[in-house]
Amino acid sequence: MCTVCGCGEGETQIEGHEHSHEHGHHHHHGDADHDYGKGAAHAHAPGLSQSRMVQIEEGILSKNNEYAAANRRWFSEHGVLALNLVSSPGSGKTTLLTRSINDLKSELRLSVIEGDQQTANDAERIRETGVKALQINTGKGCHLDGHMVGHALETLKPEDDSILFIENVGNLVCPAAFDLGEAHKVAILSVTEGEDKPIKYPDMFHAADLMLLNKIDLLPYLQFDVEKCIEYARRVNPKIKVMQVSATSGEGMDNWYQWLRATKQLSMIGV
């Protein structure tokens, strides 16, 4: 891990980003003089030391939250609505995004950050729509964090007054804890995953404001109780909004687009 800039994921690769996390480099998060890399570790002088207690009261994720707060500030200054799309692998995030982009790109300014452990496949799928996208590869990392997204913004440069979709690493557990500075987490659950996912992975559905129930075109072939699924989601999060969609057939997508338009409008007046 690079202890200079606080990047926990030493293997992270951001497309087009030359910034390598070596100790002692000049870092641009305003903490360039915090050079922890220089052997604080073994400066222990026996005999001289005396134990004492230090009260801290600081969140474990406080570092991530600082990066997320900086991103959030940037989003609000630039009128960017940032949405963090979270789900298990293969729920249809990229399919949903490419369809949404094709349907909305004439009326809204859009861009995408793609998070996957490996490959730039998803960013390439997005770029085929003509909208700009940047791939972050987390290597073994199982989630995006505020710091990676901050760096991605420097390269991607989303336009003012736009919507930024951040497709998180496919994982129903870890991304829940890491704020990226987004306005909302949107959880995508596909009907092939089973209706009990909201209570099996409660943290994610607790953290999301909207759940898109995807692949509803497959319902005739499955035993999936939609009502039960929604009830489970509301157990974990009484306020969660739910929409049923099919990213391939297009069914229900207009509701999602209306939500996007309305949420974008609200973000402009700071709600």
Binding site: G8, V54, I56, I60, L61, Y232, N237
Partner: protein, 113 residues
Amino acid sequence: MHEMSLNEGVLQVLQDHAKSQGFERVKTVWLEIGELSGVEIEAMRFGFDVVMKGSLADGAKLEIIRVPGQAWCMPCEKSVQVTQLFEACPDCGSYQLQVTGGDQMQIKELEVE
């Protein structure tokens, strides 16, 4: 699963405070982990030793203070205890609960030298 990154977060906070509060070694770390935080305690302990290796907290002891989950039940209009995010109110069975506590992951205190 993300307990590794959580421990890296702990280490960052330790390093920050080592500088500002002038200590060089950390001997014990007290964490407050709420029951609703989604943190796996065993994974946290395992990751702690691995992540702290070679740092100012190499070999430090990890003490975990568990905090029970608290929620406000809207129908009952009172605070109740829950152990999971999807649990019903133990009194009225409603799921109209708002988590009010026990979701924290905090570093409380350190023994340093």
